[in-house]
């Protein structure tokens, strides 16, 4: 089965600093999702990447999917306290499990003002 590994597991940064979260898959990614979650709440959709080399941005958050489609990175520029939360990457399985959507273990981001 497909495994997603996120790094780092937790991250503490000072406001205004840039940061990167990585998501590595054990298999080719057919669809890669990034979500943000505040503790005890549902997940907020950030971005979805489909094609190798694809890059998308939303406000100060940029996500990329590498050419081989086995790794994605999420980059936050000039972080703010509002960026704090848990970031999760999710991926669709291919083949006969096309409906299956699994997630990494999450990265806890803390931003100090």
């Amino acid at each position: 089965s497909q495994e997603l590994e996120q790094s780092p597991q937790s991250l503490i940064v000072q406001e205004g600093k840039n940061l990167t979260i990585n998501c590595t898959s054990s298999k080719t990614l057919y669809g890669l999702y990034w979500y943000k979650q505040k503790y005890g709440e549902g997940l907020i959709f950030l971005m979805m990447l489909q094609k190798g080399g694809e890059e998308k941005s939303h406000e100060k958050i940029t996500a990329k999917l590498d050419e081989k489609k086995q790794q994605s990175s999420l980059h936050i520029t000039a972080s703010q306290p509002s960026h704090a939360g848990i970031y999760l990457c999710g991926a669709l399985a291919g083949g006969t499990s096309y409906g299956k959507l699994t997630f990494g273990q999450g990265t806890i981001l803390t931003v100090h003002p």
């Binding site: 996120q6 057919y30 669809g31 999702y33 979500y35 503790y39 005890g40 709440e41 549902g42 997940l43 959709f45 979805m48 489909q50 848990i86 999760l88 999710g90 669709l92 096309y98 409906g99 299956k100 959507l101 699994t102 997630f103 990494g104 273990q105 999450g106 806890i108």
Partner: protein, 113 residues
């Protein structure tokens, strides 16, 4: 517009009692539906997913079961709860099989005492 409803928001149940969590989706048809459990505010463990009425794929052998009695209704159940069933349960849906966004409900915090 499409929306997803999940209830209740919080639930405290004694060990050995039954469980029924409900998730409904509005504004779409034939969605893929998912149940996840999240422990300690970290990654999501996929419990069940369904690509159609009456079609349930179980990912983790456990004390839980799922049913999809209607196209846009997904139910998570247990006949007898265990302490280890405590956690944060999330329902999600996707439209279609590939390359579509997944949206989440607000979650149910289950505490088994």
């Amino acid at each position: 517009s499409q929306t997803i409803h999940q209830w209740p928001a919080t639930l405290v149940q004694p060990v050995g009692s039954p469980l029924s969590l409900e998730c409904t989706v509005e504004g779409t048809s034939n969605p893929n539906l998912y149940w996840y459990r999240q422990a300690a505010g970290r990654g999501l463990q996929l419990l069940f997913y369904s690509v159609g009425i009456g079609q349930i794929s179980s990912e983790v052998p456990q004390n839980l079961s799922a049913s999809r009695p209607q196209d846009r209704q997904f139910i998570l159940s247990s006949k007898k709860l265990l302490l280890s069933d405590s956690g944060f349960y999330l329902c999600a849906y996707r439209q279609g099989f590939m390359n579509t966004e997944a949206f989440f409900g607000q979650g149910t915090r289950l505490t088994v005492v």
